[in-house]
């Protein structure tokens, strides 16, 4: 007697709850490990899971054990080839004796690091934990045109396509029973009886009665309709305004000759983080790449990062291009607009006024957030002046004069600064402090 049970279709991941408890327990170490790991990663793999190793300190499970050194011990070991009793053997270097085997190595002791694998979801969650999109006043006022329809019970009026058959038939049935409408079976039975009586020709009285009955039933059938307009029910749909759950991210970059590969790389990393972050918060994220020299154009990603371009630097062209794209494709009432601009801070002197005006009057009002990243040469603060003090670049000074909470500015010179800067910008309460923190 035995039973065989197929458990393969049972949901797997039974230990998920345990895993979550474990991650919660080791959170600090895991977070640290995630940050370290992400620093080493290429940009493309930033949103993948992966091997994580953490120190076993916080996750030890201590037990009362005897120490692994000192005292008198006895081991019985297999595989004697040369020893005679009474022989002396040198102690193996690290405790454990001639082969204490697995004892004691069970937990905590022997291992330096605890290695395990994080899934992609877990990795990203930890990576972006306690970051938040700045929640700005403008969006609250925004009226959205787009509506979401969803089921909201039943109504007595509606279009035929929304007819709810089940409800309708249920009502009809109830009414027919209540008003005692003759059923098809009753009428059929009576007709058969009349037929029978007519053919045989006996019992005339019963025939008359039956005919009358039938006439009555037919009359009732006509008066009490099978489906009455009062039975009919329609599915009701309610419209709720849909919050704009889509975002567009504008990547603006100066690609003039003064931007080195290193600077572009820094910018790219920042864009990647922002993109990753936006995709976590919005269902749908579009990315628009605008590069500029003394003129600006919208390009694809490949061109944006890798195609060389020369020319002067006029920032306002990029802003104008952005304004054009927004007007053409991304009405601010439907889209959350984010912009990230990367530049080495150069701008044509004559353009600064126009840039400031454009920003203040057009760009910033339509943006949820505008991040300006000033990238510098590796190991060198951008715009290092002759005297050794920090000289503010043209663009920096221009933007600083705007001083709107929507606009955030940071300087980055090294790869490892990208993530801290990003965190600073989006830390949960970081919005307020950003304006003056630049210098």
């Amino acid at each position: 007697m035995f039973t065989i049970v197929d458990r393969r279709l049972n949901p797997s991941g039974k230990s998920l709850a345990n895993r979550q408890r474990f991650l919660r327990r080791a959170k600090e170490q895991v977070m640290r490990a995630v940050r370290d790991a992400s620093a080493k990663r290429g940009i493309k793999d930033i949103d993948m899971g992966g091997d994580i190793s953490i120190s076993p300190d916080g996750i030890k499970e201590p037990t009362l054990q005897r120490s692994s050194s000192g005292g008198a011990r006895n081991y019985v070991v297999p595989g004697n080839k040369e020893f005679m009793s009474g022989d002396k053997i040198k102690r193996p270097p690290q405790g454990g004796g001639g082969g204490q085997g697995n004892e004691g190595a069970d937990d905590g002791d022997g291992q330096d690091e605890f290695r395990f694998v994080l899934s992609r979801e877990e990795f990203i969650d930890l990576f972006l934990e306690d970051l938040e999109l700045p929640d700005l006043a403008k969006r609250k006022l925004a009226v959205t045109d787009s509506l979401d329809w969803h089921r909201a019970g039943y109504s007595v009026s509606g279009s035929p396509t929304n007819l709810n058959l089940v409800r309708t038939m249920r009502n009809s049935l109830a009414r027919r029973i209540a008003l005692n409408r003759p059923t098809g079976d009753e009428i059929k039975a009576l007709r058969v009886e009349i037929d029978d009586l007519e053919r045989t020709g006996r019992d005339r009285v019963r025939l008359e009665e039956a005919r009358e009955e039938l006439a009555l039933l037919l009359r009732r059938t006509q008066r009490i309709p099978y489906i009455d307009p009062v039975d009919v029910r329609y599915n009701r749909f309610d419209a709720t305004p849909r919050p704009a759950a889509q975002a567009v991210m504008f990547c603006l970059m100066d690609v003039s000759g003064s931007m080195t590969e290193h600077m572009k790389d820094l910018a790219k990393r920042f864009y990647m983080l922002l993109y990753l972050f936006l995709t976590r918060r919005y269902k749908h994220v579009e990315v628009v790449f605008i590069r500029h020299t003394h003129k600006a154009q919208e390009v694809d990603e490949e061109t944006f990062f890798y195609s060389p371009e020369t020319g002067g630097t006029v920032v306002s062209t990029a802003l104008e291009e952005m304004q054009r794209v927004v007007e053409a494709r991304f009405p601010p009432s439907e889209w959350n607009i984010y912009a990230a601009q990367a530049s080495d801070g150069d701008n044509a002197l004559s353009d600064n006024g126009k840039t400031a005006q454009l920003m203040k009057e057009i760009i910033l009002p339509i943006c949820q957030y505008y991040a300006y990243i000033e990238v510098g040469q590796d190991g060198m603060s951008p715009g290092l002046a002759y005297g050794g003090g920090v000289r503010e670049t043209d663009l920096w000074r221009t933007y600083k004069s705007i001083a709107e909470p929507v606009l955030a500015m940071r300087r980055v010179t090294q790869r490892r600064e990208i993530y801290p800067v990003f965190r600073e910008l989006f830390a949960k309460d970081g919005v307020a402090q950003q304006a003056e923190a630049g210098a």
Partner: protein, 529 residues
């Protein structure tokens, strides 16, 4: 290859009488499993005389096998981060290919549940069914330790209760509070077992009834006169305060979790219940820790005999037999101590070798065996002898009783004594006439859990003073406790107890006090008194 095949044909000489192979090829399906199970059962019951719980075989995926690992093989278990940690490590090792998965997991329950993996070939399923569903199953049902200490009928229900109870506690008191109690309880888990059968304590209802009866009796026989009877002159009780206190608290007590559950002053009811659950789980696994060699030896011997018999009868193809033997030899491989692969004595290897040895001694003894095992040698009925051994021994006593000189020679076992006071280790005994008994004795000791684990007891509570809990470690062979982990465990203990905890390491031979650890509670679990 042709030689092997022809050898198979010779072996399969009885095939004409035995009949058709049960299956061909590597794929398995339910029909084949059913056929094979029936064939195995016939061999197991008729030829080996095994007596098993009803079997329930569950087919699972490798993913589910990993899941099962993390909750110590049990089909349901309460939630705790440490299981998640083990799961994460097992998964990482499995995915990176450092470690394969076990072929099976078997649970000591009634019906006896064995898991088989869908990826395995039909031959592996056959091997696993013979190994787990019959070998382990027989051992679980018949070994005295399991009979005495585990309740195969009730375990799954109990675990399901425990899981729900702990989940409810988490809901009500918060994850953190529950986790802290469980952490502390897990740290003391090895000291949460009763090593000796105790008087069965009556259940609560009976307890209450008895208390009532006692009260009634006292009321019935009340006589005020007794009050006037003068007391004994001098009045001093022969018992000292300490003795009375210890008697009242039922000290000394080595089951620390039990003591805390019953006597810790500050714990809440649910916290006591959690300690009780952990204690029960520890108790359930206690026999398994004492019978690794026997349990695996029994199961390995059974699968070997069963498959061999099936093959002899022609019910197993030669190919399947070769495949099974390939896995079998991998399992019972014992590397030498100087081999890189050495990781202690392989319980499968030792167990299987000992079972085969018993079979040999019973049916075909040498003069040496007759001298060493006068009762066993040549008595015939090897299965009877084996079943007797499986039922009535644990690893330590089994090795002490049955490890033969022939086997010591085969394994080339030798005994190394390592005294920290000497500059070098000494080979105390090898596989020669003078050494057999010493080696056997030392090996048995190695498997004695009472020797492997520190002997720690609660000896006193300072009731008049600061309620300090006093424990004693009776040091064996001058091996003290590991400083760091002891501190951590005592911290947990102090948190549970709610007051200071003191652990003294004492040499029982000389009475010398070697070391003292004192820890004050950091975050008391439970409510203030």
């Amino acid at each position: 290859m042709s030689i092997i095949t022809s050898l198979g044909n010779v072996l399969g000489g009885g095939a004409a009488a035995g009949g058709e192979p049960l299956y061909q090829g590597a794929d398995w399906d339910y029909d084949k499993v059913r056929r094979v199970y029936d064939a195995i059962e016939q061999v197991a019951v008729q030829d080996l005389g095994l007596d098993t719980y009803t079997n329930q075989i569950e087919v699972i995926t490798s993913e589910q096998m990993l899941d099962a690992y993390s909750s110590i093989g049990m089909p349901l278990f309460y939630k705790h981060w440490s299981f998640g940690k083990h799961f994460a490590r097992d998964e990482a090792m499995y995915r990176s290919g450092q470690r394969g998965l076990a072929y099976e997991i078997v649970i000591n329950s009634n019906p006896c549940i064995s898991y088989i993996m869908e990826e395995n070939t039909m031959t592996m399923q056959t091997l696993v069914i013979a190994h787990a569903a019959f070998g382990h199953n027989h051992f679980f049902k018949n070994n005295y330790l399991f009979q005495q200490w585990t309740d195969a009928d009730g375990i799954l229900d109990y675990l399901s209760f425990a899981k729900e109870y702990i989940a409810k506690c988490e809901e009500r008191f918060g994850h953190v509070a529950v986790e802290r109690v469980l952490d502390a309880a897990h740290a003391l888990m090895n000291h949460g077992v009763h090593r000796y059968p105790r008087r069965r304590t009556p259940d609560l209802r009976n307890e209450e009834r008895r208390a009532r009866e006692r009260e009634e009796h006292r009321e019935r026989t009340f006589n005020d006169l007794w009050r006037t009877v003068p007391g004994k002159a001098g009045g001093a009780s022969p018992l000292s305060d300490r003795d009375r206190r210890r008697a009242m608290l039922e000290l000394p007590e080595e089951n620390i979790l039990y003591f805390l559950e019953k006597k810790a002053p500050r714990l809440d009811g649910w916290q006591r219940e959690l300690l009780r659950i952990v204690r029960h789980v520890a108790q359930y696994f206690y026999p398994q820790r004492q019978t690794k060699v026997m349990n695996e030896g029994c199961a390995t011997y059974c699968h070997y005999r069963i498959l061999q018999t099936l093959h002899e009868r022609g019910q197993l193809t030669d190919g399947a037999w070769m495949e099974a033997m390939h896995s079998h030899t991998n399992v019972v491989f014992q590397p030498d101590f100087d081999d890189r692969r050495y990781g202690g004595i392989n319980p499968y290897a030792l167990g299987f070798a000992m079972m085969q040895d018993i079979e040999r001694i019973a049916s075909n003894p040498t003069a040496e065996d007759r001298e060493w095992f006068p009762d066993l040698a040549g008595r015939g009925d090897p299965m009877g002898a084996l079943r007797h051994a499986w039922a009535n021994y644990r690893d330590e006593s089994f090795i002490l009783q049955y490890l033969s000189p022939a086997l010591i020679r085969k394994f080339r076992l030798f005994h190394v004594a390592d005294d920290a006071r000497d500059p070098e280790m000494k080979v105390a005994a090898i596989h020669d006439e003078r050494g057999y008994r010493a080696v056997r004795h030392a090996l048995a000791r190695q498997y004695d859990i009472a020797w492997a684990e520190a002997d720690i007891q609660i000896v006193d509570v300072d009731l008049v003073g600061d309620r300090r809990l006093i424990l004693e470690h009776r040091v064996l062979n001058q091996v003290l406790l590991d400083e760091a982990s002891t501190k951590a465990v005592l911290q947990h203990l102090a948190d549970l107890w709610g007051y200071e905890v003191e652990l003294e390491e004492v040499d029982p031979a000389t009475g010398a006090r070697l070391k003292k650890h004192t820890i004050a509670p950091r975050r008391v679990l439970g409510s203030p008194v």
